[in-house]
Structure formats: C-alpha cells, structure tokens
Amino acid sequence: MSRNDVLVTAEWAQENLGTPGLVFVEVDEDTSAYDGGHLEGAVKLDWKKDLQDPVRRDFVDKAGFEKLLSERGIANDDTVILYGGNNNWFAAYAYWYFKLYGHENVKLIDGGRKKWELDGRPLSKDPVERPATQYSAKEPDLSIRAFRDEVVASIGSKNIIDVRSPDEFTGKILAPAHLPQEQAQRGGHVPTAQNIPWSKAANEDGTFKSDDELAKLYAEQGYDDTKATIAYCRIGERSSHTWFVLRELLGKSDVKNYDGSWVEYGSLVGVPIEK
C-alpha cells in the first residue's frame, strides 16, 4: 500500500470526473455543503443519516450498507473516490467504513472539499442520479475496529493515540470548539494515551503531510512500531483520519479505530481516566 494507491490529487479528480468505473462520493454531516455545490456527478452520503443506525449507537449493519450503496448506484467493482469537508474527517471515516465492509478500491481526494475550493475548482448544483446496483458487502473486518473492552485492556500495553486537540486531551474542553461545550461525560483521556492531534498530520489546506514528515511526526512522539495501535477521538471520525495516515499512508500494521471514542469511554462507570 502506498500513497498513490489510496490518495488522488484534486487535479487528478477534476480530470477524471465522469470516467466510467469511478464514483465520486461527498461525505459530510452537514449536507447543505453538497447541496450548495458538489463535484460534477458526485453522490452524497450523510455521515449521520446514512451511515449511523437511527436507534442504537452503532453504524449501519451489513444489510443496511448494501441497501445504501445499491440505492446510490455504487457497484462492487467501482473505484470509490471520497472527499468531504472538515479536512476530510468524514470522508476518512467513510473510507474506514468502506474498508470495514470489504470494498476493494477506495481512495480519498487529498485535501477534500477545502483544497478543491481553495483551488477555485468548479462545483455543480445539478442533481445526480445513478442507476441502482445490487451491492454485496463482506462481513465486517473487525481487525480495524476496536471496542471499549479492548481499549481498557490495552492501557499500558498498546499504542493508544488520542488524536483530539490538546485542550480536549487535558479535559479543558469537551468537544471541538466549533460545537457547544455541553457534554455530560467526564473530561480527560485514556491513561497512557499519547496526544498526537490529527491536525499535525495535515497541512493548512487540508492535504496530508508528506510520508517523510508523517513518519518523523509519529517517531518523534514515541510511536512504538512493535506494538499494536488504537486511535480514538471524540466520536471516531478524526481518529479515522489518523487511522488512514498510520495504516494506509505509513503502512503500519495492526491499527484499529475506536469509533466509540471519548463519548463512550468518558461515560463508562469505573474505568480509569487521566487528566
């Protein structure tokens, strides 16, 4: 796996819009971004409405994923090119999710929507309709998803990477600062977790830093290549960004995303917390 297998540039994306076999997918929580203008021909996925179970706190099951992709007109042999706002947080989350359900060819547009906009590339408001498919997902690959018990059992033994901002790590704030600070759970972090914010892996225009810069970043922070790794944030989307960097760009082995993240961990009764 190398950078070219998992990332495309905005320039490449623009040149390849409309190419058969490629499906461009915008992933946002706020789909008004898509509705206000999207890449020509791109379909949208709503991070919450489409990818989360409406009742339980979990994401949609295999049958739900198959139904969703079939409706959106995505076939098993299509190459899915993901992009989105928030520096590709939700696109990276969707990437992880597509991999979890075994989709073969998935890539991210480096820099996502932000880079595209800063470059002044064209956006379209034309409605996009794709003929429905019969998508067939694989059983979820749990080698890339961590659950709470594994996180607690990994304290002091695995690399636990807290990718939130330093002020969330210390418990000064409980959510990213564009959201009201109103969560009821405890602030702080998983003991022995290292704080390596996702933002250190990205340039200001939202593109990923170079492989050399990324390798240096994690080495300097004491990342132990001999250990398995769990990344978490608040709800699992920023940690998908770091999961993507560690596993897909740097090729680290045994990296899991803990999508329950701090919203779950910080509300568990009796687990250890550091501040």
Partner: protein
C-alpha cells in the same frame, strides 16, 4: 456531532453564563467573505477547531476562557487575530489584507 452548526444567526438557546463564545466576521476589501475557512488555535498555536463562514462572513466557536488565535484562509488570502476570551460573548473581526 462534529459537523459545525450553521454559522452566524441568533444566539438563542446558547447559555452565555456558561459558554465561552468567540464569534465574528471575516472581511476583505470592505466586504464580508463567505465560504472562508476559519480556524481557532490555542495559546500554543495548536489547532482546536475550524469552520466555514456563512454567506455573511460569520463564524462562531465554543471555547474556554483564555488566549486564542483566529486564523482565516480563503482564496483571496490569509488573516489572523489574537484575542483573550472570557465566559460569555467574545466578538472579533478577522481582516484579510
């Protein structure tokens, strides 16, 4: 939810006795800049959050009391503003020269 709420608009429903709100507008060449990226950096210059301005060029963050830097990035250029925030409403303007 990690997606930013719609930027700008009324403060209805926001408890200013507990929240530290940092809000304002991005301006360039005598007009507000819509669709500008605005990030909030803490006193160590660490990224804390980022939003996109409303059609009126507005942004809003929910932070904590202390020193902050607001930096804007848009196709027309960059600008930044340092401020000291307290609990309640803290307003600022970022000018892109």
């Amino acid at each position: 939810m990690c997606g930013a709420p719609k930027q700008g608009g009324a403060l209805a429903g926001i408890d200013l006795s507990t929240q530290t709100v940092i809000q304002g507008q991005v301006w360039h060449d005598g007009a507000p800049v819509a669709g500008a990226y605005v990030r909030l950096l803490n006193q160590d210059d660490e990224f804390t959050a980022e939003v996109v301005t409303s059609p009126e060029g507005e942004f809003r963050f929910f932070a904590a009391p202390g020193e902050w830097k607001v930096r804007s990035l848009a196709p027309v250029g960059k600008g930044e503003q340092v401020l000291s925030a307290e609990v309640g409403l803290n307003e600022t303007t970022v000018v892109i020269a």
